[in-house]
Amino acid sequence: MQTTQRIIARMLIVSLAWAGMPATAVHAALIPTDQVAAGRASPATSRDRVHAFLARADVRAEMERNGVDPQAADARVAALSDAEVDVLAGKLDSLPAGGDFGGIVGAAVFIFLVLLITDLLGLTKVFSFTRPIK
């Protein structure tokens, strides 16, 4: 009698547990829409590249020399959409790259600062010779 009850109880536990599983246990297995577009570069790639650029010691030094908080730059990149990060990352591609830094890094960082820091944050006005929008 007790054994039969125990068996029934166990079967009930098992079947109830199983019945409850599908609705609750498996989550977050959906692939989001932005991952669907075929042939499109993973947004993370561009974002990673921009963050990697911002993380470089020479870039950080240039930012600090211009009075820009590197963390504020990171935060602003995080706020941009993937496509907008792609624009910035595309800009990075056109900047001189390679082993010999010095003046080249200065120029690259300068352009990047204007794009990302000065303009987006409005913290500084690096381009004193540009004309304002009318």
């Binding site: 829409t33 932005d34 991952q35 204007v114 929008i133």
Partner: protein, 330 residues
């Protein structure tokens, strides 16, 4: 170092400079306008006028917020220029970045899309009744005077374009002059449409990309309308079907999600994402057997999404195989 922060010039600068010289000398027809005059694209109306675009005269240098407010309100928003200023205005530069113009339109739930740098495309959108925000360089290539305005009409036979610009409610410019100033911005132009309206010049990938950005930004209703409109023109578009499915799933409408993912999987039998999301939805709806077989198909296709599909399959199998193990407990 003359690179303007809010414009990435695409065309050769010298050509643009030469174009300006021509303008000064005699206003000869500009390259893209000449093409349109020589060979008018099929379906392009000889003239057009966009109705219902309000006018807000810009305050100091704030042409970006003003152009955006006029365009968004024409599409059904109720925004003031002052509300938009903190979203697109950069005090340090006295201007607005193009990316932020697009991002701001999107954040208000409108489908924001940059046009191709083509005068014919610009005119086609006007012909379809869509106001277009354009970026002009009213100065010289090496002495830029950047300016956003809103194109609201044209007349090819008269060679004129109508703009809401600065403090002018109606600026009626020769198309040649306009093209010179526009070419110097790399022919940058953007649409901001009420979701559900299709751009006349839309390319599937770009249009759907804009819709995905709405979804990613949490504008689910707007994204749903944009995907639905996209499917009318591209009935099998994978991104649109997946987007509709994902939005339905996120809203707890699993039957709608299943229908969308099924349609996606039927039209794209090799889509890992379609099968994966269908498997997950079937599982959630308690149709475990079909969920498992669908997840197996998804995991067997390969590609960059394979890890996600394998993960789904593992999760489903981990739970559905448990009853088989149950006899050991007795």
């Amino acid at each position: 170092m003359t690179l303007p922060a809010w414009s990435y010039t695409r065309g050769p600068r010298r050509l643009a400079a030469a174009g300006l010289l021509l303008l000064v000398l005699g206003g000869c027809a500009t390259p893209q306008l000449q093409e349109i005059i020589d060979d008018r694209p099929a379906g392009l109306a000889p003239s057009a006028s966009v109705a219902g675009v309000p006018f807000y005269p810009q305050e100091d240098y704030q042409c970006g917020p003003a152009a955006l407010a006029m365009t968004l309100n024409a599409a059904g928003a109720a925004l003031t220029v002052q509300e938009l200023v903190p979203q697109v205005w950069l005090p340090g530069r006295k201007g607005s970045l193009q990316v932020e113009m697009v991002a701001a339109a999107r954040s208000h739930g409108f489908l924001a899309l940059e046009l191709h740098p083509s005068l014919a495309d610009l005119l086609r959108e006007l012909s379809a009744g869509h106001p277009v925000i354009v970026l002009q360089n009213l100065g010289l290539d090496w002495y830029p005077v950047w300016h956003y305005s809103v194109a609201i009409g044209y007349d090819l036979d008269a060679g004129r374009i109508a703009l809401r610009s600065g403090r002018a409610q109606l600026e009626d410019l020769p198309l040649t002059t306009f093209e010179h100033t526009w070419a110097r911005s790399g022919r940058w132009a953007m649409l901001a449409l009420r979701p559900g309206s299709l751009p006349a010049t839309a390319v599937a990938d770009e249009y759907l990309g804009a819709a995905v950005q709405l979804e990613s930004g949490g504008q689910l209703q707007a994204a749903r309308s944009a995907y639905t409109a996209g499917l009318e023109r591209w009935p099998d578009a994978l991104v649109a079907l997946m987007g509709l499915g994902n939005i339905a799933y996120a809203s707890g409408q699993l039957a709608d999600a299943e229908a969308a993912f099924r349609r996606a999987a039927a039209a794209h039998p090799d889509s890992v994402a379609a099968l994966n999301n269908l498997a997950q939805t079937l599982y959630d709806r308690g149709r475990v057997k079909e969920a498992r077989s669908t997840a197996r198909r998804a995991a067997g296709i390969g590609g960059r999404l394979q890890p996600a599909a394998r993960h789904t399959l593992e999760l489903i199998e981990a739970h559905t195989t448990r009853p088989v193990a149950a006899p050991n407990w007795r």
